[in-house]
Symmetry: C2
Subunit: 131 residues, 2 copies
Amino acid sequence: MTSTQLTRNQTLVLGALSQSEAPLSAYTILDKLRGEGFRAPLQVYRALEKLLEFGLVHRLESINAFVACAHPHQDCCSHGLTAFTICESCGKVTEFHDHVIEERLAGFARDRNFKPGKTTIEIRGHCDGCA
Amino acid sequence: MTSTQLTRNQTLVLGALSQSEAPLSAYTILDKLRGEGFRAPLQVYRALEKLLEFGLVHRLESINAFVACAHPHQDCCSHGLTAFTICESCGKVTEFHDHVIEERLAGFARDRNFKPGKTTIEIRGHCDGCA
DNA sequence: TAAGTTGCGTTATGCTATAACGTGTGCCAT
DNA sequence: ATGGCACACGTTATAGCATAACGCAACTTA
Ligand SMILES: [Zn+2]
Ligand SMILES: [Zn+2]
Ligand SMILES: [Zn+2]
Ligand SMILES: [Zn+2]
């Protein structure tokens, strides 16, 4: 695991995500960081781009939002598939890995000569507390 | 299976999607249907909303686009989870069902008292022909 | 020094989606 | 038939998400 030194903007964006209970949209992050001098969406998007690259942040495709990775320093699974549950009431996100699903999807792709890139698995619903 | 009579707008939107090789964004559909009198995004979005409801169309969350269902009249799996491969070169979409994955995800949700709603599984990559 | 790389800031623009309002039509219970 | 309702539709405006294009500054490498 290579520990990368984050820039100021990256640190601020990651901080905003880490402190939040729920996923944040880029524009919400922008608003939270206006006090720190942020003025434009690109400052957020550029930081997010790097943080995603470093594996410190995940993008939730189904809700156009971002979360800090729940276990950024864990090597196991760090390059594998990540799945999420997303509570539509409180925004709580749970991140998990499943090798059975991973292998099942890989097998399907192999069978069709499909070369898989990034895979999205997101379950929207309601968490225990919000049932 | 209840066969619903589609409105003119719904028929046009479904037609545009059915004829297309690749998924279409709402605005692309709009442009394709200007000749038929479409003027505004809402005409497309309202039709899509119903078509999604009828199970005739799927939304691909990871690319903000829509496809006609590959097997709209098939009862098996019609209420279950649908997964997609999406070719990032040619846009080809393949739709499939997998009960093992479905059960695996359901199990995970059960374990955490998470009540699952809509689930997204999308693999972006490159298809056989575009490898 | 010169060239390349990276991050940053700014302005402008484009793409995606919905709010809010009003119209018209068919249906049906009164 | 007439009032009320549900539903599709049309239009305008607005909200929300994301990137293009320019230029500057700092640092690295040759
Ligand atoms: Zn993670
Ligand atoms: Zn919740
Ligand atoms: Zn389908
Ligand atoms: Zn392809």
